[in-house]
Amino acid sequence: EVKREAEKLTPVRIGYISTDIHHLAFFVAYYKGWYEEEGIKPVRMEYLYGMPEMMAFKAGELDAGYVGIVPAIIAKAKGANLVVVASANLEGSAIVAKPEIKNVFELDGKTVGTPGLGSIQDCMIRMVEERFNLRMNVKHYKFSDLPLLLGRGEIDAYIDWEPFCAEAVIKKIGHIIYTSHDILPNHQCCVFYVSGKLLKEKPEIAKKLVRVHVKAMRFIRENPEEAKKIFSEMTGKPLNVVDECWGRMVWDYHVNVKSIKIFVPFLIEQGKVSARDISDVDRFVESLVNTKLLAEVEKS
């Protein structure tokens, strides 16, 4: 009977990044079996970072997923038919510096690592430079190598997503001197998206997905200790690392459209997306973000 039950479930392929705590809602929902409760069989599609996930999405291998807002913007600008239906988290990045550096002003003239050109973190460090009129020597590395490099003394500080900032703190290699909250409060970070095709052809499935997402987000806010444990258990990140970074994420499922409208022009300015693809920022963001389902779910 259980078997027949399972056969009735609709498979949905969900993409996410393998150890990104920003995608916690997925881990929780999966762990709790909430997808199945909605008649959905979640197919885990795990990626290393945003680029291969967006490529796979474009190749038609994903129905929904979690990804950083910047890769989502870039993919959308390139014609990927994805729709952001909810926020996965706000904030959640930070600048870690070696112990000698006490505050963000001391970064002037220092070497600062970022997890890459296409990351939101690179955007934000540029904002810091601009705001305080600093000149940093910004270098790009692989996101998971940044703590190693700080430990080797090769960089003076880095900006990264969690829990890779917490790693350095726990290993006592560095300390947090500035968070993404300080840079742009409540900025959009990772998002939950569904494919435009799914939204059009099977809106009821999309709605169920959003419902699960919201349920998971609420659970995270209400039972942080259990959520941490789930993440730690599913990804292998030590609990103390998860603990350390916990406070730097805002678990809000409402999309911060305003911050997206700040990022898009910034990305264009930096040449990361082409103005040819985004002629009108407002229209672009409108087509990218659709919170109708979210509103419906919230109401019921």
């Binding site: 290393l48 291969p52 190749a59 998971s144 790693e167």
Partner: protein
């Protein structure tokens, strides 16, 4: 004879044991001098290995699943490389014009890193074919080039022998050129297998599926768990070694006729 042989393999075993011990010892020393939280000593790695073996990885996927996933991908890609590389190597070794004519396409391909192919693999192919493409790219060219080089080492008089017996081209190629090139072809296959195995991490970077030793390494990398990464590396190395030993066994049988070169 038999006892002498046993004696020899026993000695080889001992030698290997000694060099491994020295290696582990040096590693321990290094880990003490460096004393970085990221640089594990052999014991940490052993522990990580035991956990992986007994409990599976952080997502509960068993070691066997990882190994089977990677080995089957590599063997498929490598098999494709053998099937394509050897015949093409023979043809191009014998018809230099053919090689000359496609050199401007073929040679650049050889240098393009497997990782660079990932986006195109994702766009153009699906499923296992993606992994195969990337491993094929690594394994194909060593096999091709070594076969081509091996073809050139044949003693032309032996081809003449086949010719005067009225052999057609196929027979000549199979019975003289190929038989003669076989040692180099084998060397090429062993190199190709190595390079193919080397591409497994790049291939599994494609993501999507959750099993594979390459993926294991990448995941442990994200966890900054260098011990776990080293377990993955060592496993990849050991499986490579086993495949290599199989090859060497086969070579030993096939090339019995060789006079061993000694000084």
């Amino acid at each position: 004879m038999a006892s002498k042989f046993l004696g020899k393999s026993y000695k080889t075993f001992l030698n290997n044991f000694v060099s491994l011990t020295i290696f582990l010892f040096l590693w321990e020393i290094l880990s003490i001098t460096i004393s970085s939280p990221f640089f594990p000593n052999p014991l940490d790695v052993w522990e990580a290995f035991l956990i992986l073996l007994l409990k599976g990885d952080v997502e509960g996927i068993s070691l066997t699943t990882h190994i089977v996933a990677s080995v089957s991908r590599v063997l498929l890609g490598f098999g494709l490389a053998v099937v394509t590389g050897i015949p093409l190597g023979l043809v191009m070794g014998l018809k230099r014009v053919a090689y000359g004519s496609v050199r401007s396409i073929l040679e650049p391909l050889r240098f393009i890193p497997p990782i660079a192919w990932i986006p195109l693999a994702i766009i153009l192919l699906t499923g296992c074919a993606r992994y195969m493409l990337i491993i094929w790219l690594g394994a194909f060219f060593p096999i091709l080039l070594n076969t081509m080089a091996g073809v050139q080492t044949v003693n032309p008089t032996l081809i003449d022998v086949a010719k005067v017996f009225g052999a057609d081209k196929k027979t000549i190629v199979v019975k003289t050129v190929f038989s003669n090139a076989l040692p180099e072809v084998f060397a090429g296959m062993r190199i190709g297998l190595g390079v193919g195995w080397m591409c497994i991490v790049a291939a599994e970077m494609i993501g999507g599926e959750m099993a594979g030793l390459g993926w294991l390494i990448l995941k442990y990398g994200e966890l900054l768990n260098v011990s776990g990464m080293i377990v993955g590396m060592v496993l990849i190395g050991i499986i490579g070694l086993l495949m290599n030993e199989t090859f060497l066994r086969v070579e030993k049988r096939v090339f019995r006729w060789r006079r061993e070169v000694t000084l």
